[in-house]
Amino acid sequence: MTIAPPPPSAAERLKFYSVWIVAVAALVILPKIFSSGGSLTTFSLIGISIIFSLSYNILLGQTGMLSFGHAVYYGLGGFLAVHAINIIAKHKYAIPLPVVPLIGGIAGLVFAMLLGWVSTRRSGTAFAMISLGVAELVASSALILRSFFGGEAGISANRTKVLRLFDWSFGPQIQIYYLVAAWTLIAVIAMYALTRTPLGRMCNAVRDNPERVQFVGYDPHVIRYIAFCFSGFFAGIAGALAAINFEIANSAYLGAAQSGTVLFSTYIGGAGFFIGPIVGAIFVTALSLSLSDLTQVWQLYFGLIFIAVVMFAPGGITGLLMMHRPLIKAGTLTRVLPSYLIAFVPTLAMIVGLILTIEITVYHTVNPGDDPHIKAFGIPFDASNHGVWAIAAVLLVGGFLIARKSWALVAARWDDALTEARAKGVAA
């Protein structure tokens, strides 16, 4: 006998819906506060990245499938959207632009249905390698099938040429922002709802214990396949929005770099929580846009951040924050905070030392002929000065040695605080 949980109280419902209402309000108000073209583009890219990362998390976080080729469905959605815009404009069909992302989504769904059945036969490491192989297959084919994928240059479209509704031309970025925002909201709600369905629960079961799922009478392969199809659908929507935003689709949409980026943002944000990929998408998109202005080798920093997250915070940013919930509930957070401050100083010193070392190396290997007075992260310094080298070495090595001690302190304090929280009856 199972007992149904009691229906949520009015207060719980209010709390639940207020989250979404606040999200809608924030999306409407954001462009009023930051109205420059650059920030609108950034917001649009973040929105697209949120849909894409959440669709990826249907695989990674909810069904436990690590895919190295998710960009295939994103890219195919983008290409189909561009072709759709061109066809609609040519034949003057009565289809407005806001519907086009749906076409991209259906394209993603169809290709996920085609390729997914084979890919999802295996799980775990084999699935990861298969997704990589399928991605390479599609990406290489895109360069061979020139008339559909447009070769290296890609296919472009003019988004203003389709049917207009309410006199919205979708020329200005602000209108694209609202289009992306609306689709982001729809997609986020749909994907959240998906996690609450029996299917969503079975996905979690397949992730945690596929053998038991079989005993209960489900086929893990079928569940993985359905999850894969949903994931492809939302990835297609994201790809179509990206294609509308840039008015072009090229082979980079399908490539390994795009698949890597979505993996980075999902994992750095935290695959274990629904909100994780949203946090990750905002963080990674903002970081990649700002880092590329600050330093030449931003991709290296990116890789290092990812490795650091995998090694030290496997729950991602959200996981780190959520760890503190029992402490806040029990009121023992104040015990940990001072040790954070103590650890922060040497850790920061170590990171600064590492950045200095990297930037000096970059100066001497990539552009040795230039002026040695270089600027990294907005801070000017002299890369040929031996004093700076010494400072870098001292910060790096000294910082590491002291930081290691301080991390041990943090861990000890953390254990104390958690034990006390448990003693107070707060579940960890």
């Binding site: 990589l132 061979i144 559909f148 990812f306 490795i307 995998v310």
Partner: protein, 315 residues
Amino acid sequence: MLELIVISTLNGILFGMLLFLMASGLTVIFSMLGVLNFAHASFYMLGAFFGFQISKWVGFWPALIVAPLLAGGLGALVERYGLRRVHKYGHVPELLFTFGLAFAIQEIVQIIWGKSPVDFRVPAILDFPAFTVFSTNYPAFKIFMLAVSIVIFVGLLIVLKRTRIGLIVQAALTHPHMVGHLGHNVGRIFMLVFGVGTALAAVAGVIAGPALVTQSDMAGLLGPILFVVVVVGGLGSLPGAFIASLLIGLVQTFAVSMNGSLAGAFGPLGPDLASTWLSDIWNVTIAQIAPIMPYLMLVLILIFRPMGLLGTRET
């Protein structure tokens, strides 16, 4: 035609043996540690670049020894201080760790050696045609590559089948916990195996570097093919990896040298496709689709034999 077959067979076996040099390490690491080392091709690339740098300083022959040792040492360090830390979180973070590592290694190589190919030359002593088949000169360096990979292959076989270490490694492939219970230091064996596996990949890098192009994208180009090899052969199966390496080496080499297309074969019957995008499929030559051959094989294998050629184990 005969000439083409002979040359392509030689090249195909050579490419296959190179693939196996890497796939063997990858397979053994996978079987023992349960982690597919995504950065394996990066160690191949590191081998090539270390080989280039050392042969610039002291010559090719010391480089052939030192570069793999260096790369293998790095590999052992990665296992000891990276993978072992991540191990407690499970297999997905382990795979992601090696993925991040591959990404970082590529960036670091680009920073140090640049994005364009480096001038890694065949050593002068091996820079002559070994023999002439029909009208084609076959370079001696390629024979040397073949010899090195066969020597290592035989060496590996002897170590695995005839020595105590090989016995322990073989036991640890299937029963790592039992090996631990018997008092062997499994951690050290893992580190050793990871180091040797990455060193083998680096050997492949040093000998392939002068013959192919030594460039910062070589890991990205070869890596996916390598993973196809281990999946097609059956994850965790050494003989399977050997067969799959040779198969993919031969298929790809033969495909490159063929010029046929659907239009060429069925030209007179051809429907008028010139205006539609199907014309791409109709006109593409086998040589053009050579790069996607391994992936097509992967999909076919998955449809007809999902566990791989000689694989038995579900992961």
